[in-house]
């Protein structure tokens, strides 16, 4: 294997993993934009997406093409429920209080999944058959193409939604200034609910498309949550495009770190670079600087 093809392989691996981080980060961003909450349960949405698809397939005997949208739909409903039950009644409370509530919610969702599905790891069949494809000495799984494709489609869809639809513009308005948005006749509560539905959907989608490659279990959400959050910050909090790019960069950094530096310290390598970048650009790669406090 030549050095060039090894390098290509590192990048391909990094992009695949990075896409997961990116989709998780996208979910963070949507909720953050309407509420300023960092939703600690975001990783759990991703986990639920994968797990529900597995179990629709196993228990329900639902065929894969149906199990996938079904899982995504259920998780979206869970997202709405989370907002209605724990976030909406708490309107006006400090952001930190709401963040702790999402921590509680993540514990609850993880525990529920553990009781319902057990503690084992599961795999989901790939969306399309066929062996690995070779490109320049490196190999790609067909499922990776699904992952990259669906991630790109999601980002494009979000762009259209925010720029072309009334709801999307209303959500952006909430992000800029909630009070002003409310005065303009935007129903802020509905926008918050919508954002929870949206980020649950994006998260679940990520969980489902990745399960065939990465396997899934009730506790995969924790790590994804941390990495997704890091991706958000790297890209600049509040910028959906930045979130996805941040995710891919983080994934590639880890992969290159493992391949070229040391596999034991690969996450440390990625985080050292992330911190170094933050010290130079305190609001991420594409973030607008604005004053924030607890």
């Amino acid at each position: 294997m030549t050095a060039a093809s090894a390098l290509l392989q590192y990048v391909i691996s990094g992009v695949t993993v990075g896409a997961t981080y990116g989709l998780t980060a996208l979910g963070f961003t949507v909720i953050y934009n309407t509420t300023e909450i960092i939703n600690f349960a975001q990783g759990e949405f991703v986990m639920l997406g994968g797990m529900l698809a597995v179990f629709a397939l196993r228990w329900g005997g639902v065929p894969l093409p149906l199990a996938v949208p079904l899982a995504v739909l259920i998780v979206t409903a869970v997202g709405v429920l989370v907002d209605r039950v724990t976030i909406r009644p708490m309107r006006g409370r400090s952001t930190l209080t709401l963040i702790i509530i999402t921590i509680g919610m993540s514990i609850l969702l993880r525990g529920g999944a553990m009781l319902l599905f057990g503690k084992d790891t599961f795999s989901l069949p790939a969306f399309s058959p066929g062996g690995p494809i070779e490109i320049g000495g490196a190999t790609v799984l067909p499922q990776t193409l699904w992952v990259v494709g669906i991630t790109l489609l999601t980002v494009a869809g979000m762009k259209v939604f925010f720029e072309r639809t009334l709801s999307g513009k209303a959500m952006l308005a909430c992000a800029c200034d909630r009070k002003a948005a409310s005065l303009m006749g935007i129903h802020v509560d509905s926008m918050v609910t919508l954002s929870f539905a949206f980020s649950a959907l994006v998260g679940a989608l990520g969980g489902v498309i990745l399960a065939p490659i990465t396997l899934t279990a009730y506790d995969v959400g924790i790590l994804l949550g941390v990495k997704g959050f890091a991706a958000c910050i790297l890209g600049g909090l509040g910028n959906p495009f930045g979130a996805v790019v941040g995710g891919v960069i983080l994934g590639v950094l880890e992969s290159l770190g493992a391949g070229l530096v040391s596999s034991g310290y690969k996450d440390a390598v990625a985080f050292v670079i992330l911190l170094g970048l933050l010290f130079v650009r305190p609001s991420g790669l594409f973030g607008a600087s604005r004053a924030e406090r607890v």
Partner: protein
């Protein structure tokens, strides 16, 4: 109506009877700490199930020394600090006569000082050699030390002409202990380690590490970890078209591994394993045969899921304690400990235990057989 009333009366009588016998004999209380939740729950869950099952069957069979056995199980959530409070609860609140577990080496090492202070025997279900080396008076363990598994692999590899290996290990307690032994024992086996890679236990893609290994002249890859990491490695290896033989540790010796990796990706993988997973191929006359078959049947009927090697560790721990209590004719901690140390030639699910003053694990490499995964099943190698 009438029959219902009679049934009620019978039930009452049975209950009263149970209460009466319960009152007559004070139960022997054994404590257990397992990682039922958290990252090591794949160990703790079958262990908890196993001891609960044993508690039931022992008591159905009349208990030990005519006394019922009560096993108090606590979950340490795979957290060493929680294991410390759990063991204190067992020692000071529940006043147990012996403790089995914890599931992980970290938790075990964390509670050893408490155990030694309380002078209560501990039979750990964790693998690390450190637990019993140097020998601690009150501490025993049932799983084979990693050292034995590594020796088995190296023996087999050397026999097949392998001189250079690449190792890839998980950065958790299990993987790190394996890595240490792999490096320490290589020279003696005439094997050189040409790549030493690590992966995070929750990582989902190891193609980077394997790509690096692909660039070396390794004749075999040895992976040390527990699910799901090794399954991902098996998949990534096929994806990258690596033909180098892959050896795994006993940590993946469960049908779950083949399911996760996929039979096609797992084909040809070699590993040392206890006889539990390849029980059908254990010859009928083998001294472990009866106990293996019995445990598998009981467990699979009760829990409707396949047994794992890990549940076997807990099975052996409890049965060794029961054996010790019976030979000591006493349920006093010191008497149990002394009897435990004298157990010889005791066949259990993991192997034949021969404890002594110098050996509190009591197993040899004999406890392992090399198996190959063939068509989604285990094939025992000669």
């Amino acid at each position: 109506m009438h029959s219902k009333a009679i049934a009620c009366l019978i039930a009452l009588a049975v209950l009263a009877g149970a209460a009466a016998t319960g009152a007559a004999a004070e139960p022997i209380r054994i404590g257990a700490i397992f990682s039922v939740t958290g990252p090591a729950s794949f160990l703790g869950e079958p262990e908890r199930n196993t001891v609960k099952m044993l508690e039931e069957s022992i008591n159905k069979g009349g208990g030990v020394l005519g006394r019922p056995v009560e096993i108090v199980v606590y979950d340490d959530e795979t957290d060493a600090t929680k294991a410390v409070t759990a063991v204190d609860r067992l020692l000071k609140k529940d006043r147990v006569v012996a403790v089995v577990g914890p599931s992980t080496s970290g938790s075990t090492l964390a509670i050893v000082p408490k155990i030694e202070e309380a002078k209560i025997p501990l039979v750990s279900c964790a693998a690390a050699k450190k637990i019993v080396d140097p020998v601690k008076k009150w501490v025993f363990k049932t799983p084979q030390s990693d050292e034995l598994a590594v020796k088995r692999i190296y023996q087999y590899a050397a026999k097949n002409g392998i001189k250079k290996v690449a190792i890839i290990t998980a950065s958790d307690a299990f993987g790190a202990a394996g890595r240490e032994e792999l490096k320490a024992l290589a020279a003696d086996a005439g094997i050189a380690i040409v790549a030493d890679e690590v992966y995070g236990p929750k990582d989902t893609d190891m193609t980077a590490q394997l790509t690096k290994i692909k660039g070396t002249d390794a004749q075999a890859i040895v992976c040390w970890g527990t699910n799901p990491g090794p399954a991902v490695i098996a998949r990534n290896r096929v994806q990258l078209g690596i033909k180098t033989p892959l050896y795994m540790s006993h940590g993946v010796a469960s049908p779950k591994f083949i399911e996760l990796a996929g039979a096609a990706n797992a084909e040809g993988i070699l590993l040392p394993a206890g006889r539990l997973i390849s029980e059908p191929q254990v010859p009928a006359g083998h001294p472990q045969k009866k106990i293996l078959a019995g445990y598998i049947k009981d467990y699979e009927t009760k829990f409707k899921q396949p047994v794992s090697t890990f549940g076997g560790y807990a099975y052996d721990a409890i049965m060794l304690l029961v054996q010790a209590i019976q030979t000591a004719k006493s349920a006093e901690p010191a008497a149990i400990r002394d009897a435990l140390e004298k157990i010889k030639g005791y066949n259990a699910t993991t192997g034949e235990f021969n404890f002594s003053e110098k050996d509190h694990n009591g197993l040899t490499e004999e406890a392992f057989v090399m198996v190959r995964i063939t068509k989604g099943d285990w094939e025992m190698l000669k």
